[in-house]
Each structure stands twice: as structure tokens, then as C-alpha cells.
Amino acid sequence: MKWLLLILTLLAAPAWAVQPDEILPDAALEARARDISEGLRCPVCQNESIDESNAPISRDLRILLRERLVAGDSDQEVIDFLVARYGEFVLLEPDTRGANLILWAAAPVLLLLALIVGWVTIRRRPPTEVALTEAEQRDLDRILHP
């Protein structure tokens, strides 16, 4: 009975990230495959790479990209191959073409602006201290000339 339960449990479980049978015998090729798959998004998951994902389509994609690698494609060719079929949606690292330039350049530009504004504001500070208020002057007089 326990074993029946065990089998049922396992049947209900989904396929699961990178499977042992997917791994390529060539370690260098496999390392490249892992690098590529970490940068590709699972098309049906919410926010997972195909390397982490349990979805069947991710498994298909992992196997597909390994087939391309074995066939002799370069990393870029494999990525282009998948983007051509699934769109730029699968790229976890957006490219720098067109409007994406805004995404990449926004922070460095803002940093530069902030540094300039910060620098100018600090340099422009009045060199002298502000005058004491009347109350402070009174206190000071009282302390200095009791």
C-alpha cells in the first residue's frame, strides 16, 4: 500500500529542471548549454529560466538547444534560432536595440546627472555659516559674559 502511494506521488510530480538524461557527455558543450539555458525564459512559466523550470516545454527547449550545440552551432546561433521561433520574449537579458537603449542607458545617465547636480549643489553652498538667531545670540552672550 505504501509503495502504491509512493508511485502515485511520483506520477503526480512534474518533470523537474535539468534532468540527468539531458546532460551532454561533452562537459565543455554541456557548460555552454547551461550558460545559454540560464539566459532563456520559459515561454509558459511566470518568471523562470528554462534551466530552472519544470514545464515540459522547457525540457523540450533544453534538449533542442543541446541538439543545436552538438550540430556545431555557436552560442549566438543557438540563441538566434530560439528567438526566431519564440520571439524576444524568451531573452532574459533584453538586447540593446531600439527602445531597449532607454532601459540600459537610463541608470548610468541618471547617475551622471545626480553626481553633477550633487557636486554643483555642494560647491555652491555659502562658505560662511548662517548667522545666529537672536535667541542663540542672547544665550551665547549670557554664557560668555555672565
Partner: protein, 665 residues
């Protein structure tokens, strides 16, 4: 008995409606009172804040009771609980869903409002009245949200016999306490927001304001730190591959307020000590809560899909967007109109603690902006440019990391500079020594892990630099003289200095942990037969057995794995795959042997056609340092909070004789 329980639930619903009414009155009456100078109207805020807390507290207690006693006549309990569930998860089920978590949200709002009333005894009467009124206005928005769109007390006519169970992923100690801490953080920032808006209405910001705001910011930041660390720790052991941060929209939602709160924490010090950077500090206070609201919107609207999002509902999203628009728009308009009034007083040189803190603020704020633009870019790209794209970890790693590296480099230097005009003359020798030590340590680690990426040694370099910088800071504060004199003085340093040291050291520890684990982890994926032995790194693993085990509300496949390093004592690891029949969901329970130098992390997978099981084994060096650093940061916050100078009552040292005294300038 059942009749009374049913009554209680209706009463709890009614109490919530009553709290809504009280909050409306608390928004209007004290504001009018403060404007007209009517003392009686101003003091109305205090009992109102207390009664809000009592009413919402009652509502929350009753909902908790409904979960604990499995009262399935409440539709929320039916949808999120089950009689077989362990008690801890019956209780945490209260906030493990949209409606209940919103009730926790308003409870926290009321709690902070009431605390501001209790601890604000020394605030000028008008400021106190306005702070409590603004705080109540936030509550009004969220009471309305709950009552009109997400009533947690909705009943079922025929109570079902049993519930549908809480999402099994949420049935975990790490995640049970993750939301309450996050909410204390998010909502804690509402108080600093209220202070900022009240100060804008008053038209004055002075050193005393900085001193009042700082403990609240510190507390909120500390809770956020703990909440984020708990969430990341949970992801590490629960999701099954030992990742600790995914740059998921929901994670980013909690990270953005954390970054801004950290900036605010530092700029409030400048306001308090030097009466400058005032309008910037006010802006940060507004933005910090703005990002909290944005976070609530991201989590609940589902416009940005995420692994974590629950109870997605566009209509609720629109409502939260409305709240965000009103509060952020309103406060920013007020800011634009009033910011000019706040002039800086203290002047400072280009090289000074003030300038260093400005740089800290720039780096934290811009890094927050990186996270922000990366999080919303898919939305913008689709709506404006018609491109469906993703922004994932590779972008954030590349765009965010440089800011943290810069921050880590300048942190020890800036924290050593004196106020007004500083030099590093006295610190030159210790800093030089520390620099040499940092490079030496990095070189040592480079040699140990020869041939691997440079990320690891860079992390060691920065980690030693930041932690060492904190120690040097403490050492230099001890003055001159022999070792006993110095040690004596170090122990007598104010708590605030200790808090600073511990928190900064925590940051260094986390940087090191993240870099070390990312760079040097080892992974092994293979099919293992029962009884088979294999090596990963310096360890030898044996799969001893795989058994079926019956849990309280799940069925488990549990493997027993023995791991030995050389001649050391064997470790027994029992990874599980669980199946929750009620929710029809499987979960992975990794087995982890925690250590100071490494974690051994084992996951059991599916049975294979030819017998045997898929197994994943990781050796994760210095993994615990990531959360250790976060804990140190939180402890630093606690130590600072206990500093006499920060006690809420200390502001009374120079009581304003007349609350309506001269405005700041």
C-alpha cells in the same frame, strides 16, 4: 457555541466598518483643529488612533480564531485552510491570502498610528495632530479597499465539511513569518510618509523632525531587512535549486522600498545633525512609502506576472493604483509647493561626512531606479513600443551590481570622514593596511579556487574592505592611548556607533556571501541507484534508501543519503518530495547540512525507467553568510534603536514652548 462564533464574525466585520468611520473622523477633525489652533480638535486624534487599533485588532483576532477553529462558514477559511493542517499554518493561513493579508496590512497601519500617538508625547501638538491625521487618511483608503473589494468576513450559507487547504508552498516556517515582517516594514514607512506630509503642511523641518523620523525609518528598514531575508532564505531551501534571489517583480517590490529606506535612514541623520538636505529627505520619505504602495500594486494586480503573485485581480489592481496615484500625486504636489520653504542651514565642505552621505544617497537612489525600470520595462515596452520582452536576472546582475560595488568601495572612506570638513589623514595608515589586507585575502582565495571566475575574489576584496572599515571606524573612535584605554572607550561608545558598525559589517558579510556562493558552488546532477556511491567535490555521497512516509497533511517520498568528507563523521541527509492531496500539488524539500564554511544541499527527483532516482547535489560555500549579513544589518538597526539619543522622549530635551512658534527660517 456555534451561534456565538457566528455572531463574533459578524461583529468583527462590523468593527472593521466602525474603524473605517473612526479613521475618516481622525483624518478630518485633527487637521481642522491644527489649522484653526483648536486644541480639543487636535487631541481627538489620540483616542481615535487607539480605538482604531482596538477595533481592527478585534477583527483580526476573530479572523484568526476562525482559522484556528476551522470555521468553514467563513468563505476565506474554507478557501485557505483545512482541519489536518498543522496549527502554525492555520494561523499563518490568516495572511496567506489576499483578503487576510489586507486585514494584516490595516492592522499594521493602525498599530503604527497608535504607536505614533503613544510615543509622540513630546511632539508639538499641531505636528502630532497632522501626523495622525495623515496616517488615518492612509487607513481610510485601505479600509475602503477591504470593505468594498476584498471582504475577509464573507460567509457561506452552508458551511462545507472541510476546506481547500493553503497553498503547500506557503506551508513553511520561513514563509509563515515572511509577510508579517514585510508588512511591518512596508507599513512602517507610512509613518515616515505621514511625518513628511505633516511637515510639509506645517512648513517646517528642523533637527528635531529628523530625530523623530529616524527611529521610525530605522524600525521599518529593520523589519524589511528581516522580511526580505526570510523570503530569500525560503526560496533557497524550498524551490529546490538553492537560488536565493531571482529578481522577480515581487522580490523587487520589497527591495525598492528597502533601498530608499536605507537612503532615508542616512539622510535623516544629516537633517538631525546638520539641518541640511531637508527637502531631499522629505522627498525620500514620500518615495519610500510610494514604493511600498507600488509593491502592493505589483503583487496584487498581476500586471507583472510572477511566481509569487497571489489573488491577482485587475479590478483590485486598479483600486490600488488609484490609492497610489492619490497619495503619491497629492504628496508630490504638496512637496512642489512647499519644498522651497525648507532652506538648508549647515554649510559643509566638499570633502566631508555630509558629502559622503550625499553620495550614499545618490548610489542607493539610482540603484533603486535600476530595479524600478527593470521591473516595469516589460510593461512599458509592450504598451508603448509594442514589444513583448522579458527583463530577467542577467539584466539586473549587470546593471545593479556596479552600484553596490561602488557603494562598498566608498562606504569605509565616507564613514570615517568628519562632519563639515573632513580629511582622512588620521585614518590613512589603518586604511592603507586594510587595503593591503583586502587584496591579500582576495589573492589567497584566488589561489585556493584557482582558475574560477573573478567574482569570488572581488567579493572577498569588498567584504574584507567593508567589514574591516567598520572595525577601523570603531578603533579610531576609541581615541589615542594604550590598548586597555582604547578598549575601555570602545565599550563606552554610544549605541548608535555600535549599530552603525554592526550594520555596515553585515553589508560586507552579505556581499562576500553572495559573491562566494555564486562563484564557487559545485553542482552535480545524476541518476543514482539505491546503495550507489558517488563523489561531489570533497564529499562522498551514498543513497541508502528511498521510503514512502505519511505526513500530517501530505504524502512524502523520503530519501536517506549519507555524505562523508574524508575521514570525517558521516552526515545523514533526508531530502523529500511531498505531495499535498487536497491542493493536488507537489513540493520539493531539499535536505541541507548547514555549515559556516559550506552548505551541503541534496534534492531527490523522479524515479527513472531503469530504476534509481534523479538526484541533485550542491556544495554551496559560505551560503549562510548571505543571511548572516542580513541578520547583522537588522541587529545593527536594533542596537541603534536602543541608543538613548534616539529614544522617542529625547526630543523633549528642547521642548517648543509654543507649538506655533517661528517657522524654520
Amino acid at each position: 457555541m456555534r451561534y456565538i462564533r457566528g455572531m463574533l464574525i459578524e461583529l468583527a466585520h462590523f468593527a472593521l466598518i466602525l474603524a473605517f468611520g473612526v479613521a475618516i473622523a481622525q483624518t478630518i477633525v485633527p487637521l481642522v483643529g491644527a489649522h484653526k489652533g483648536w486644541r480639543g480638535w487636535m487631541t481627538f486624534a489620540e483616542p481615535a488612533a487607539n480605538s482604531q487599533l482596538i477595533l481592527v485588532g478585534f477583527s483580526f483576532a476573530v479572523l484568526t480564531m476562525a482559522f484556528v477553529t476551522s470555521d468553514f462558514s467563513v468563505s476565506l477559511v474554507y478557501a485557505n485552510s483545512h482541519t489536518d493542517k498543522p496549527m502554525l499554518y492555520k494561523v499563518s493561513g490568516v495572511w496567506g491570502n489576499h483578503e487576510g493579508s489586507m486585514l494584516l496590512w490595516v492592522l499594521t497601519l493602525a498599530l503604527f498610528g497608535a504607536s505614533a500617538a503613544w510615543f509622540g508625547g513630546n511632539l508639538p501638538a499641531t505636528l502630532k495632530a497632522r501626523v495622525l491625521a495623515v496616517q488615518a487618511s492612509i487607513s481610510v483608503a485601505f479600509y475602503a479597499f477591504i470593505l468594498f473589494t476584498s471582504n475577509p468576513f464573507a460567509r457561506l450559507v452552508d458551511a462545507p465539511l472541510n476546506g481547500r487547504d493553503l497553498n503547500p508552498l506557503l506551508q513553511d516556517p520561513g514563509l509563515a513569518f515572511h509577510p508579517p515582517f514585510l508588512y511591518l516594514g512596508y507599513v512602517g514607512l507610512s509613518i515616515t510618509f505621514s511625518f513628511a506630509v505633516a511637515a510639509l503642511i506645517e512648513g517646517r523641518v528642523d533637527a528635531a523632525w529628523g530625530r523623530w523620523v529616524r527611529p521610525w525609518t530605522l524600525a521599518a528598514w529593520m523589519f524589511l531587512t528581516v522580511g526580505i531575508a526570510l523570503g530569500s532564505w525560503w526560496a533557497y531551501y524550498e524551490l529546490g535549486w538553492g537560488g536565493f534571489w531571482f529578481w522577480d517583480p515581487v522580490e523587487n517590490a520589497s527591495f525598492m522600498p528597502w533601498l530608499i529606506a536605507a537612503a532615508l535612514l542616512h539622510s535623516a541623520i544629516v537633517v538631525e545633525k546638520r539641518e541640511t538636505l531637508k527637502s531631499w529627505t522629505i522627498l525620500l520619505a514620500i518615495l519610500a512609502f510610494g514604493f511600498s504602495l507600488l509593491g502592493a500594486f505589483i503583487v496584487r494586480s498581476g500586471v507583472l506576472t510572477s511566481v509569487h503573485a497571489f489573488a491577482n485581480d485587475p479590478e483590485r489592481g486598479v483600486y490600488i493604483l488609484l490609492i497610489l496615484g492619490i497619495f503619491l500625486g497629492g504628496s508630490l504636489t504638496l512637496y512642489a509647493a512647499r519644498a522651497g520653504v525648507m532652506q538648508a542651514q549647515g554649510a559643509f565642505g566638499t570633502v566631508s561626512r555630509e558629502s559622503a552621505l550625499v553620495l550614499n544617497n545618490i548610489l542607493l537612489a539610482v540603484s533603486c531606479f535600476v530595479v524600478f525600470i527593470g521591473t516595469i520595462w516589460p510593461l512599458v515596452a509592450e504598451m508603448v513600443f509594442g514589444r513583448t520582452l522579458s527583463v530577467g536576472p542577467p539584466f539586473f546582475d549587470a546593471a545593479f551590481t556596479p552600484f553596490m560595488v561602488l557603494l562598498a568601495i566608498v562606504l569605509p572612506l565616507g564613514s570615517l570622514l568628519a562632519w563639515k570638513r573632513g580629511t582622512l589623514t588620521r585614518a590613512r595608515m589603518p586604511l592603507l593596511g586594510l587595503g593591503v589586507l583586502s587584496f591579500a585575502m582576495a589573492g589567497l582565495f584566488y589561489a585556493i579556487y584557482a582558475g574560477r571566475s573573478m567574482v569570488g575574489p572581488a567579493g572577498v576584496l569588498l567584504g574584507v574592505w567593508v567589514v574591516g572599515g567598520a572595525v577601523v571606524d570603531l578603533w579610531l573612535r576609541a581615541g589615542r592611548g594604550g590598548l586597555p584605554d582604547r578598549l575601555g572607550r570602545i565599550t563606552r561608545l554610544p549605541r548608535g556607533d555600535w549599530g552603525k558598525t554592526v550594520a555596515h559589517a553585515g553589508m560586507g558579510v552579505t556581499i562576500f556571501g553572495v559573491a562566494a556562493m555564486t562563484a564557487w558552488q559545485q553542482e552535480d546532477i545524476r541518476i543514482v541507484q539505491t546503495g550507489e556511491t558517488f563523489d561531489v567535490g570533497a564529499y562522498t555521497f551514498t543513497l541508502d534508501a528511498v521510503e514512502a512516509v505519511e505526513g500530517p497533511n501530505y504524502q512524502s517520498t523520503m530519501a536517506t543519503v549519507t555524505a562523508v568528507r574524508g575521514d570525517g563523521a558521516p552526515m545523514i541527509l533526508q531530502p523529500e518530495k511531498r505531495f499535498y492531496p487536497v491542493a493536488q500539488m507537489p513540493t520539493t524539500e531539499a535536505a541541507i547540512d548547514n555549515g559556516i564554511l559550506r552548505d551541503v544541499y541534496v534534492v531527490i527527483g523522479d524515479p527513472q525507467a531503469n530504476g534509481g532516482y534523479a538526484m541533485r547535489v550542491y556544495i554551496k560555500p559560505f551560503a549562510n553568510w548571505i543571511w548572516g549579513g542580513a541578520i547583522l544589518m537588522a541587529i545593527g538597526g536594533i542596537i541603534s534603536l536602543t541608543d538613548r539619543r534616539l529614544r522617542f522622549a529625547v526630543g523633549a530635551r528642547d521642548p517648543k514652548p509654543d507649538a506655533k512658534a517661528v517657522p524654520a527660517e
